[in-house]
Symmetry: C2
Subunit: 364 residues, 2 copies
Amino acid sequence: MTRQDKINQSGVAARRVTIADLSRELGITKGTVSRALNGYTDISASTRQRVERAAERLGYRPLTQAQAIRTGRSQSIGLVIETGNHDAHRPFLAEFLAGASSAAAAEGWTLTVSTADTPDQVLQRMQQLVQDRKADGFILPRTLSDDPRVAHLRAHDVPFVLFGRVADPTGCAWFDFKGGVAIRDAVHRLHAAGHRRIGYIGSTPEYHYEKLRLAGFRRGLSDLGLAEEPALMCENAVIRSQGAEAARQFLCQPDRPTALIYAVDDAALGAWDAAHEAGLAIGHDLSIVSYDGTKEGAAARPSLASYAVDNRYAGERLAHLLIRRVRGEAPEALREECDVPFRPGGSFGPVRGPTGGNPSGRMP
Amino acid sequence: MTRQDKINQSGVAARRVTIADLSRELGITKGTVSRALNGYTDISASTRQRVERAAERLGYRPLTQAQAIRTGRSQSIGLVIETGNHDAHRPFLAEFLAGASSAAAAEGWTLTVSTADTPDQVLQRMQQLVQDRKADGFILPRTLSDDPRVAHLRAHDVPFVLFGRVADPTGCAWFDFKGGVAIRDAVHRLHAAGHRRIGYIGSTPEYHYEKLRLAGFRRGLSDLGLAEEPALMCENAVIRSQGAEAARQFLCQPDRPTALIYAVDDAALGAWDAAHEAGLAIGHDLSIVSYDGTKEGAAARPSLASYAVDNRYAGERLAHLLIRRVRGEAPEALREECDVPFRPGGSFGPVRGPTGGNPSGRMP
DNA sequence: CCTCTTGCCGAAACCGGTTTCGGGATCTTT
DNA sequence: AAAGATCCCGAAACCGGTTTCGGCAAGAGG
C-alpha cells in the first residue's frame, strides 16, 4: 500500500517494471509469475494468460542480468575476432555485424564483440567471456579445417556455431555458403565460353573453405573431362600482390591458361597487374572469375566477375542458429548451406583464338 | 562444514569463486569483503589488505551481472553503428573495434555492439541497451555538427564520448584527430611544391569533421596569402564516383587547378578516373593529397598521398575515456586531440610549368 | 464416503553481489 | 573515571529474478 509505486515523475526516466510490480498488480507471488512466463507446466492456463496479458500491458521485460545470476545465461552472443592475422575478413565485418546484431536484437539478445591478436588469445577471451557470463555461446568466423576453437569449446561444453565448416563436423552447427558449388559452376561457365585451359589460384589451405573450393574446381574439371594440371593450380594467394605473382607464374608458361579462377576477390585483382605487365587484356585475352563479390572487384575495370556472398544474411542466420543452439537444440538440426549467386562482370569473356600471341591484345 | 566446496573434479570447469567463498575463507562477512574491495572508508587498512590478498590469491573477480542488479552498472561500453547509411566508416571498423575492445578488456569491460538502419533506430537501440543495462555508456562515431544522439543522451543523462567533435561541446567528452590541422598542412606542402591553384573537394558538410577540414583549408590559404576561389571548392564528395565528378568540374575550367585536396580517400580515388579521362598524369600534371590513409589509397598507382589516421588508437583512447566518464569524471577533463601524420605518395609532386596544355602529359 | 492423485499456487530459499544500520570496542576529552 | 566521539565490522535487508518444496483443493477411483 505504500505510495512508492509512482516514482515516475514526468520527464524523469521511467523506472523499469519489475516482476514484483507484476505480482502485486495481479495479487500473485513472484514465483508464480516467473513460472507462468517461463513455461512451467504447473500453472493453469487461465493464470498463465492473465500473467502474459499483464506483462504485455505493463511492458514487463525481465532484466537479463538478474536472470543470469541464477540461470547462468545472459542472452548475448559472443564474437571474437582475430586481428593481427591477415585482415581478409575486414570488408565483410560491417555487414556481418549488421545481420547478426539485428537478428539478435529481434530476440532480445545482444552481441558482445571482442578481439584478439593470436589464436591463443582468442581462446582465452572466449573462456573469459563465458566465465563472466558475457556470452552464452559463440559464432566462429573463418573456420580452419582443424580449428582449435572448436576443440576448445567442445571440450568445455560451450555452445557455438561455425561460419563455414570443419573437417570433423561432430557436434557442430553451422551456416555456410556453397563455395565449392560456386567454383564448380565457374568451371562450367568458362568451359561453355570455350575455355579449356583454366587455372586455379586458391587461398590459404588451412581454411576449410579453401579445401571446398579446390574440390569444387577439381569436380568441375572432371565433370567436363578436363585433365588436372598441377602447373595450373596453386594456393596461398590471399592479397592482391600474391594473386598477381601467381598469375605471372601461370602466364609465362608455354601453353598459358586463357582463364583463371581465384578463390578470393582480393587476390583476383592481382590479375589486373599481371595481365597489364604481360600486355593481355582482361576479359579478352584472359578471363577472370572469382569469389566473394567485393565492392573493390565491382569497381575494377573491367569489373570482376564473381560469386557474390551476402554477409549480412550470413550474420542473421548465424545469430538465429546460435540462439537455438543455446536453447538446447541439437547441432545436427542446425546446419544451413546457401547458394551463392553469380555476379557477371567484364572480366569474363569467351576464349579468343588458340594463340597466346598478339601481346598488345585489345581489338575493337 | 558441508563438503560441497570442492565440486572441482579434475577436468570439469572450475566453479567461479564467489564472494561467499572469500568471506568464509577469511572469517569475515560478505558485506565487509564487498566494502573492503570497493574502497569504503570504514574498513581498516589491515583488513582491506587481507581481503585484497585473498581475492588475488583465489582469483576472485566479482560477477558483473550480480553487481549490475544492485549498482545498475554492467561494465560494458555500447557502440551502435548506423548501417544503411553510406558505409564510409566500413573500412575503419575492424581496427577501431580492435582498439576499443582491447582497451575495454584491459579494464575488465566488454563491448556491446549493435546496429541500426536509421538515426531514429540508433536512438531506440541506445535507449534499450541502457534500460537493459547492457551498456553503461556509448561511443558515438561519425558525429554530426548537431547530432541527435548527443541531444538524446544528454537529456537522458547517459554517459557518452564522441569520436570527433560537435558544434556545441557542452558536457561532451571526445577524442578527435586534428583533421583541420592536417588539411592546413596539406595546403602548405602543396604551396611549397609550387602549387598556387589548389582545389578543395570536401565531404558531407553535416559531419563536423568536414567543417573542421574545410576551415583548415581556408586557414591554409590565408596563411599563404592565397585567395579563396569558390570555383575551386566543393563538398559532398564521399565516394569514388562523386570524387571523380567533382574533379571533372574543376579540370575543365580555363585556369584549372594543379592540385586537389580531398577530405576523404575514397573520394580522392575518383581523381584517378577524371585525370585519366583528361589525359593528365596524377603526380605530374595533377597532384592529389587526401585524408584517411586507407589501404586502397596506398594501393593505387601512383599511390595516394594522405594523412594516415590510426583508428585502432582512436578506439583505445575512446574506450578509456568512456570508462572514466562512466566512473564520474567531468567531461571537460576527458578531451583528447591527436595529430595525424602525413603519408607520402606518388600522387604528390611539384607543379609542372604554367600550362594546362600538353594533355598527353607523361614525360620520363 | 474415504483415500489417492493430480493440478495449482504460496512460501521461502537461493543466485552473487551491494548497501544501510546499529552497536561493541577503542580512543579522546573533561 | 565517566561521557562522548571514532573506528570497524556484523547483521540483515535489498536488487530482480528463479527454483524447490510443500500443502490445499478439486477430481478420480474404490
